[in-house]
């Protein structure tokens, strides 16, 4: 690792991040209302996939609660703002605190046991969350959810149209930056070490349980923040969106794209999000079948996902192994 001039080293990621934001946000201003809506959801799926990839791909935790936390974020901001009438910053902080509390309550008991147990507990949490939403009466709005609210003015500004899409673009870029930084640090290596060989990780001084709990809480909070942003995309929150089906779709995105790789998560999310738009005219509602085939094909043919195919092609041209 040769370090270049330190100024360039510091400027590069910032400039790259700003560039990505300008491109992603700028694109929204060239789209109509319908495409803005699709684009916003695409960006949210990418955000979720990035977070879930860190949990599942980097840290090796098989959890199905990601969408429940997305829902906790979405519902909590709406309930805190419009039923408890908290000011926006306080509502956001309370929503995050709620996500942290739930994440710790799930992660701390489950990490003491093996991976399968976490999958079951989070699956149960996902289902329970939907039940609570459906039975929540006036607080959650029951099966119909909560609607008829809109983003309050923040510092006298009401973001709408492509400007709100820009907020989501900022969320994607910030999530990506945070996760990449974590991944390239002692923490990311500890997560990968725990995934690859927990006993050896412990022998290297990694607190395995603590690392798992932090990774779970952190990615769950990121999902919760995504949910808060989502709450003002449709200006309605209702139970089906936060169900188990979407949690599985997220898992498929990460596997098809390439688990453990940020770029893979992005590719998987974009592909599986857009696929129904292309497939529906051809096969109607049977696109779930195509997803199934894709996932099985990915696992059998290229366990490293689409990014693995890209790596092999790139290696052939460069002739050197890349990460």
């Amino acid at each position: 690792m040769k370090s270049e001039n330190p100024l360039a080293l510091r400027a590069t990621p910032l400039i790259r991040g700003a560039g990505a934001f300008i491109v992603l946000a700028g694109a929204a201003f060239f789209m109509g209302d319908y495409h803005n809506d699709v684009y916003r959801k695409l960006l949210l799926w990418v955000t979720l996939a990035l977070g879930y990839n860190f949990l599942f791909g980097v840290c090796g935790q098989v959890a199905f609660s990601h969408f429940a936390f997305y829902g906790i974020g979405a519902y909590s901001i709406v309930i805190f703002l419009f039923q408890l009438h908290l000011p926006f910053p306080l509502a956001a902080i309370c929503g995050i605190a709620l996500c942290i509390a739930f994440a710790l309550a799930v992660a701390i008991p489950s990490t003491r046991l093996e991976g399968f147990y976490l999958a079951l507990v989070t699956l149960a949490l996902g289902q329970l969350f939907i039940v609570v939403l459906n039975e929540g009466g006036t607080v959650t709005g029951g099966t119909g959810g909560i609607a008829n609210y809109r983003l309050p003015e923040i510092y006298g500004l009401r973001l709408r149209g492509p400007w709100y899409t820009a907020v989501i673009a900022l969320l994607v870029v910030a999530t990506y930056a945070v996760l990449v930084r974590l991944d390239r640090s002692w923490f990311g290596r500890a997560c990968r070490a725990v995934r690859d060989n927990p006993e050896a990780a412990a022998a290297m001084g990694v607190d395995v349980a603590r690392t798992k709990v932090i990774a779970f809480t952190l990615t769950s909070v990121l999902a919760g923040i995504g949910g808060m942003v989502y709450a003002f995309v449709d200006n309605t929150v209702n139970p089906p969106i936060f169900g188990i089906e979407n949690a599985f779709l997220l898992l498929f995105m990460v596997i098809v794209g390439g688990a453990g790789r940020h770029a893979g998560a992005v590719i998987g999310a974009v592909l599986l999000f857009l696929l129904p738009f292309w497939l529906s005219p051809l096969v109607g509602h049977h696109h779930a079948l195509v997803f199934g085939v894709l996932v099985v094909a990915a696992i059998l043919l290229e366990p490293r996902g689409l990014i693995g195919i890209y790596d092999r092609v790139a290696d052939r041209y460069k002739g050197s192994p890349s990460r």
């Binding site: 290596r189 022998a203 001084g205 192994p321």
Partner: protein, 254 residues
């Protein structure tokens, strides 16, 4: 030389079987202490007790004067006791250099918050440079960026050593490091272990192979059936009747 690691009355029973019985020994600063014994002598159990993998039935283990028996493995590592595994346990999803960096885990000072804010790059670069030196030291210099799954068994063992050294230990525990290595690799390994001792890092070497251990160790402890049957300089131990008896059978001793 003072004792860095003190083992007193260490005992481990698995049900009715006493794997280690009332064991006493010490590792001094900067020395290579060998623990040998035939199969089933309790070497691996002793190792796992010190490393924190097993809970002891009785006894006391002190490192630099502090009790470490009963601490979780990651806390023992954080105190400065690193280990290698007999069956290599690499982190398969990472290149060689990142495997070594995991070994330095407890030496990172940056908080998660400073990582997120991007303020930990200097430390990261410094540690990476240091890890590269260790990869070089064990002779894997050209493979620093390689995928660990492409390493041979012998190279994997060298990686185990570099990874343990990255934790800046005062004591390294080697679990049968010569097992499965070729004669040439054993010679190289012995040279590396001497190099480690020369950096004034103490070495505790659990080893089945006397021919590998005796020329290398400064002192030797011999176990049989979970108890110490002899200790002393390699030359003394080699001709000790109880040792010959344990290793070669009772006929050879008489």
């Amino acid at each position: 030389m003072s004792a860095l690691l003190e083992v007193r009355g260490l005992t481990k029973r698995f049900g009715g079987l006493t794997a280690v019985h009332d064991l006493d020994f010490e590792v001094r600063e900067g020395e290579i202490l060998g623990v040998i014994g035939p199969n089933g002598a309790g070497k691996s159990t002793t190792f796992n007790l010190i490393a924190g993998t097993y809970a002891a039935t009785a006894g006391d283990v002190r490192f630099a004067g502090e009790p470490i028996l009963g601490l979780a493995p990651h806390r023992i590592a954080a105190r400065g006791v690193m280990r290698t595994f007999q069956h290599n346990r690499p982190f398969a999803g990472m290149p060689v250099i990142d495997n070594v960096l995991v070994g330095a885990h407890t030496r990172f000072g940056a908080t998660l918050w400073s990582v997120v804010l991007g303020r930990s790059r200097a430390e990261e670069a410094r540690r990476r440079e240091r890890a590269a030196e260790l990869v070089q030291f064990v002779g894997l210099g050209e493979l620093a960026r390689a995928d660990v799954t492409t390493l041979s068994f012998g190279q994997g063992r060298l990686l185990e050593i570099a990874r343990a050294l990255a934790g800046e230990p005062r004591l390294i525990l080697f679990d049968e490091p010569a097992a499965g290595l070729t004669a040439a690799e054993c010679a190289r390994l012995a040279e590396i272990i001497r190099g480690i001792a020369a950096r004034s890092i103490a070495v505790l070497l659990i080893e089945h192979d006397m021919h590998f251990l005796l020329p290398l160790a400064h002192r030797v402890v011999v176990l049989n059936f979970g108890a110490k049957i002899a200790d002393g300089l390699p030359a003394e131990v080699r001709t000790h009747p109880a040792v010959m008896d344990a290793y070669l059978g009772s006929h050879a001793a008489h």
